[in-house]
Each structure stands twice: as C-alpha cells, then as structure tokens.
Amino acid sequence: MGVKSQRIALPNVEGARVIVHGRHGEMVVSSSAYDVPRYVDVKVSDSENRLWITFGYIDSEEAERRDLDPNFTVLVGVNSGKLLGLEARNLSRSTGEVVISLVKAVDQQLEHATRDNQKLNYGMIRNVVKDRVAPLLAGA
C-alpha cells in the first residue's frame, strides 16, 4: 500500500503526421515539437485508489481541468489544447478496464478536437497510453 510513481522517457516518439488533400495535390500536416510528449509520469496511489498520468513537453503550458465524469479528469493546455495529463479515481477495476477507460477518455477529447495539433497530439497520447503506460500498470 502507498504511492508508486515512475517516469517513462519517450525519446523515440516521433511527431504524428497525416497527408491531406490540399488545393493542389497533397499536403503533409505534422505535429510540431511542442506537441510531442518527451516523457510520461505515472503515479498510482493504492490507498486512495487514484492514478495520475502527466505528460511532459518542451514547454510549460498552464493546464485546464476538464472533468469527464466523477472518475475521470483530463488536463489540457489552455492555449494549445494538447493533453497534459489524466487523472483517474476509484480504481477498483482491473488494469485492463483502467486502460480501456483511459483510452476512451483520450478518444473523447479527440472527438472534440478543433485544431490539427490537438488531433495529432491526442493520437500520439493514445498510443503512449496503450504501448507504454498499460504494460507498466499491468506490472504494478
């Protein structure tokens, strides 16, 4: 029982890119360095049944809290709208369910994204949660 925290460095995460049809042929839209997470901090409190995931970037943007439901809160950048963190409460479910809920929370943000940088960032975060955070939670 207690608080466990771990930092995962993400040196190889490449910026997401999409090819869209511009007015003349193809146009490549990719995420800028400001939106590519450099590390992720995962903190689990067994006593409080809570999980905090914080994404680190090259800048220090202020976060805005958005409560998705009583159990989930996402933190997004006030200016860019990129995902800065996730908070999950009442963690009485299995790891698999927690990961599914986290991915669902990111997908929910993706649905409301208004700018390309947000869409690209949420896609990257989704992959980080599935590929890097989920194995860590399974082993916790």
Binding site: H24, G25, M27, V28, D59, N79, S80, K82
Partner: protein, 249 residues
C-alpha cells in the same frame, strides 16, 4: 540573457510611454491653468508654480526622455533580432547544404510574427541578406480557416507543421492566366497578393512558433524555388531549432 533583454525593453517602453503621457498631462494642465497662484499654499500650488515657471525645461526634458526610450527600444529589439537572425541563418545553412553561392537566395527562412490584433502575420526576420525589407503580410484568423492566407496562414490556423511541395510554376511575369491562378490557388494566397511577390517559391515548410506558455507567437516559413528543395530528413533538427526560437522570443 533573453529575459534580461525583455526587462530592459520593457523599461525602455515605460520610459517612452511615461514621458509622452506626462507631456500630454502637463501641457493640458498648463493650458487649463496658465497663471500660477500668487500665494501658493499647498503642495499642488507649489507644483503648479514650478510647472509654470519651468514649463519649457520640463517639456524639453520629457521630450528627450521619450526620445531616449525610443532609441533604447530600437537598439534592444535589433539586438534580439540579431540573435534570431543568427538562428535563421544557421537553419538555412543546415538545410540547404551544397547550394551554389549564386543560388543561396533561392531558398529562404523567414520568421513571421502575428500583430497585436492577431489578424496578420508580418515578416519579423529573414535569413541571409536578400529580400530583407519585404512588406508582404498574410491575413490570418483563429475562427475561420478560409480567412487564412498563405502556407503560413495554414500553419497558424492548424497550429501544426505544414509541408507543401511541387507547387505549379507561375509565369515569370505575373499575368491573370491559368498558370498564375493555379500558383495562387496552390499557395493559398489571393492572386493580387501573389502578383506582388518578388519570389514565388514552389516548396514550403511552415511551422508554428509558440512562446513558453504555449500561445502561438508566429510562424516560421522555409521555402525554396526548387520543387523538392527542402530536405525532409532534417525535420527533427528544424523542429528543435524552431522550439529554441520560441524560447528566445
């Protein structure tokens, strides 16, 4: 060093604005109350007497202070521009390797800054020595993508890096022909603006530049007259230098 320069610049601005404001206020008082009280009683009366007596000297001193503030602003902003230009030149040299000297100006690295109303992107600094006094600006909007002009405007609205290559070539002298219209269309600029451009690049890479708090400051545009002229294998370096630039501004 950058935050220090920022404080000095702010101080110079305060000196400038403060002097101009005082000039206006004191002149208004002088016009409204041209004669000083004969028997001054309170501090305001004494100040009034001093103002009337030394009016010319006070006005001259404030004018000199305002001028000093303006000169200091010019010097300090040119110092920060020298640093920015050094980064842009480094980016240019790193991206366009092995280009013959006479073709160096075919490729440019330009930093555009948004105005206060955030509806225009104006050239702030450019690499090299050519086209330094360009007045070309692009209209931008945060609400409607169609209101954004140029590849710079696209990067501004989408807040993401944009790469466009193989833009159709326009005629060497601008004409309202199909070829020129196709160029304007492909580069997202109105034909009348494209007609004014001295350089009509055919390959573009535009990156949003953000300040430390994540707010978008402007757009960095790298362009080349040659299709395929921008080496995309160096994107990582470009992105890193771009983010360093954001921290300098």
């Amino acid at each position: 060093v950058a935050p220090m320069s920022r404080w000095r610049l702010l101080l110079a601005k305060c000196l400038d604005w403060g002097s101009v404001a005082l000039l206006t206020i004191l002149s208004t008082i002088r016009v409204a109350h041209p004669t000083a009280p004969e028997n001054p009683e309170g501090i305001l009366d004494y100040l009034h007497v001093s103002l009337v007596r030394h009016y010319v000297a006070i006005i001259l001193s404030l004018a000199i202070l305002a001028l000093v503030g303006k000169v200091a602003q010019e010097v300090l902003s040119s110092v920060s521009k020298v640093r920015v230009k050094a980064v842009l030149n480094a980016l240019h040299d790193g991206l366009f390797v092995g280009i013959p000297e006479q073709e160096r100006y075919h490729n440019r690295v330009t930093l555009f800054r948004a105005n206060r109303k955030r509806d225009q992107l104006k050239p702030y600094c450019r690499s090299g020595t050519q086209y330094q006094r360009s007045q070309t600006f692009f209209y931008v909007s945060e609400d409607d993508e169609r209101q954004n002009e140029g590849v710079a405007g696209l990067a501004w609205f989408r807040n993401a890096t944009i790469f466009i290559d193989d833009v159709p070539e326009s005629c060497s002298t601008w004409d309202d022909c199909e070829r020129c219209r196709a160029y304007a269309e492909a580069t997202y600029v109105p034909p009348e603006l494209a007609a004014k451009m001295k350089v009509r690049a055919r390959c573009f890479l535009a990156l949003p530049v953000r300040s430390f708090d994540g707010a978008i400051w402007g757009v960095l545009v790298i362009d080349s007259r040659k299709p395929g002229g921008i080496d995309r294998s160096r994107d990582g370096v470009v992105e890193l230098l771009n983010s360093a630039l954001g921290k300098m501004l």
